[in-house]
Amino acid sequence: MTPNPEKETAPSCVEEGMKSPTESPIIHVACRGIAPCILLIGIYVFFHGHYSPGGGFQGGVLLAAGILLLRLALGPGLSQNIMPTWITLRLSAVGALIFAGTGLLTVIFGGKYLDYHYLHLLWPWLEPAWLRYYGILLVEVGVTMTVMTTLVAIYDDLLGC
């Protein structure tokens, strides 16, 4: 943040308050109990996106919500174990690369961009329909990684940690 004279003289240093973990043990225990359930629901939504409402974007946002709940309750220091700050933007780039690389792979194998029929050199024993099934799954992995890590990265940037 740019040094703002008005912000320096403001009496309530709210940023420090958001950085420090909350004192109440009830919030601690409740958030540490709820967060694994949210993460589990996020993983379920992501992997069950072929059969029910859901998919990459929704599952990624749910996973990010679970991590953000821990960040809010425990403070950024204690919640570094579940997702460190330095890894977030790198994982986001990796997710976007998985998506674009799937399309590039089909181009290399002789098809059009993101035409999953041409993934048959990866899995030669599969029918074309099932190739499309696994192509969709591959793409959703990239979407989930990008959305989840980008939301956590924006939160960390906002608090400046």
């Binding site: 958001m18 859901g54 998919g55 929704q58 953000l68 924006i154 906002l158």
Partner: protein
């Protein structure tokens, strides 16, 4: 019977929008915005678009709420105008 439920959802939607625009406390405005988003998701469910409703509920009530609350905490709590 179906139109009664939908009418109730729309009434809550409009009331939440008006309250969220007119309230002075910005934290209350954020919570009212979340109510508005959740009612939008419920309207989408009643229209039969479950995927859109899921995205709306997750993004609107999860990500946007968290980021708005952080923004309110980092700037000012009361609206001046």
């Amino acid at each position: 019977m179906h139109w009664v439920v939908e009418f109730l959802l729309f009434v809550i939607l409009v009331v939440a929008a008006v309250v969220g625009l007119s309230v002075r406390n910005l934290l209350a405005a954020v919570v009212t915005l979340n109510v508005f988003t959740f009612m939008t998701a419920a309207v989408m469910v009643s229209l039969g678009a479950v995927d859109v409703a899921f995205t709306e509920a997750v993004v609107g009530a999860g990500a946007v709420g968290v980021f708005s609350i952080i923004a309110v905490f980092m700037t000012t709590r009361k609206s001046r105008d």
